[in-house]
Amino acid sequence: MNKTLTAEAMMNQIPDGASITIGGSSLSRKPMALVRALARSGRKNLTLIVNVGGPEVDLLLGLGVITKVIYAFVGFEVMGLAPNFRRARQNSNVTFEEWTEYTVMAGLDAAIKRVPFLPTRAGLSTDVLTVNPSFRTITDPFGGETLVAVPAIHPDFALIHVNYADERGNGVILGDGHIDVLCAKAAKTTFMSCERILHGDELQRFGRDVQIMRIHTQGVAELPWGAHPTGCAPEYRADLRHMEEYMEATGDLERWHAYQDRMVWVDHEQYLDRMGGRESMVSRLHV
């Protein structure tokens, strides 16, 4: 049982119009190498589902391949607003659906638990309920309270990046788990990249850090630095200098195309070369 695939082979399985949920959180452990492969694949009309989105949402919006985003947050944490997201929100045909952190989790969890909805108090008395047409309110059958019914979210695909994986598709996450486990379980097909592929016996020694169970994954790719420019604890931190460069590049069309040519329309090895190569990355980013 060997589920290793190249990033390109994974993307070949994704059709136009697919819904894709992405793990990680803002500048932490986003599957950026897979996202760049998705960008290169030419797939379009995609729906993205994120909890705390960051550069992955911003990059794909900047490439014009997204028609809908479900999100609780999109931004660059200490770096501020995500420029392409901001532009698209203010002035584009992309459909945005604002959820909240727990309701995204609950929507994925409802899909996993095969129920059409999960109830919560989160969102009551806020405008999230006003602008988000997916939610309903329901009356609890016991005490008559008003609750929000969060509908199940059924992503076609999940993309996640983890520290270690084995060929069978088990994955070790050493830092924050974010919502990656929910993404992997809720999606019909889960593609996972990792810093390093380990032998199964070696992987199993990580105990409860083995958070992704192979029954939920369909493809694994070894892509060291696969989260860059976001961080991957406990190995490397977010590359804020590169994020500055990225943000500047979104400022006008010419710079944005130049950035794409240099950083997106290249394979992963070339990408790492453009970042100065692995040694330089170690010296700048290893913690």
């Binding site: 609780a72 203010q90 108090r121 830092g175």
Partner: protein, 283 residues
């Protein structure tokens, strides 16, 4: 009395609000340092987090990128997002939230300036604020630049629920706004109809200045107010030791100065981490 700066006054003031055995988020430098001051002085039971989704039982070192690495180097207890939200639902979580707008009834906004559908400025999205404002018995806000664009009559979008009949009907007092600390003073939402009222003004701040920088008339403005207590020497020492790179100052700076400090911190913070927390091995 040691000299202190506005950030230190605000952090110490924020620290005084923490009590009991609750998880405390350290998502911003101000919040992290406030939690740490409280834990080291009057609230030793606090369970301080490295970042909201990461490890418990850590001493936060305010950083730009290394929040979750603290879990590793300090052997914090790793948490899941589910743990965090369960703590919120169980009212065992506290966080200082820094909204883009807060209004006279304590509604807050981090989603959009202007109409949500066609924003003038699209912000980040409500994140976990709706969860906080429907479940926590204490909700703390801070605003660094108290002015009519941040302390507004009515938020453009309710990311978090303030006071009012809708809250009363759907949520009762659960998640109602407790306190607001700004660069001018300390406020509650205990005025008429759950509106903003002054608790204390920072040293040197006049009530008129607060009214000028607030987009709505503040109730009881002509009353006499307390002056916000100044930070103690102990508090200042805790803050400065835990934040040698002065990440806390970043939130108040802007323009070139901010950019310069930002780079300086980013380049130096790995070293600061390793000096403060030499690596220990796991079992």
């Amino acid at each position: 009395m040691m000299e202190y700066t506005l950030d230190e006054l605000m952090i110490a003031t924020m620290a005084h609000q923490f009590s009991g055995e609750v998880m405390v988020s350290s998502v911003t430098a101000f919040g992290a340092l406030a939690a740490l001051v409280a834990k080291k002085t009057h609230a030793p039971e606090l369970a301080v987090l490295a970042t909201p989704e990461s490890g418990m039982e850590v001493t936060p070192l305010p950083t730009l990128t290394l929040g979750q690495f603290l879990t590793d180097v300090q052997r914090g207890i790793p948490l899941t997002m589910e743990e965090i939200f369960d703590a919120i639902f169980c009212d065992l979580f506290r966080i200082w939230i820094n909204p883009a707008q807060i209004d006279q009834f304590g509604n807050v906004n981090i989603s959009a300036i202007g109409p949500w559908q066609q924003p003038k400025v699209a912000l980040v999205g409500s994140r976990g604020i709706p969860e906080d404002t429907s479940h926590l018995s204490q909700i703390f806000y801070y605003v660094l630049h108290h002015n009519p664009r941040s302390v507004v009559s009515r938020v453009d979008f309710r990311s978090g629920a303030g006071n009012g009949p809708e809250r009363d009907q759907l949520l009762g007092r659960s998640g109602a706004p407790t306190l607001l600390v700004t660069d001018l003073g300390v406020f509650t939402f205990s005025g008429p109809g759950g509106s903003m009222a002054i608790v204390s003004l920072h040293p040197g701040v006049a009530a008129e200045m607060v009214q000028e920088r607030t987009a709505f008339p503040i109730a009881g403005l002509t009353d006499s107010f307390a002056i916000t207590p100044e930070p103690t020497t102990e508090e200042l020492e805790i803050i400065r030791t835990a934040d040698p790179l002065e990440v806390r100052k970043l939130e108040l700076l802007s323009g070139d100065k901010a950019a310069e400090k930002f780079v300086a911190i980013y380049e130096r913070e790995r070293q600061a981490l390793h000096v403060a927390w030499p690596t220990r091995s796991r079992i």
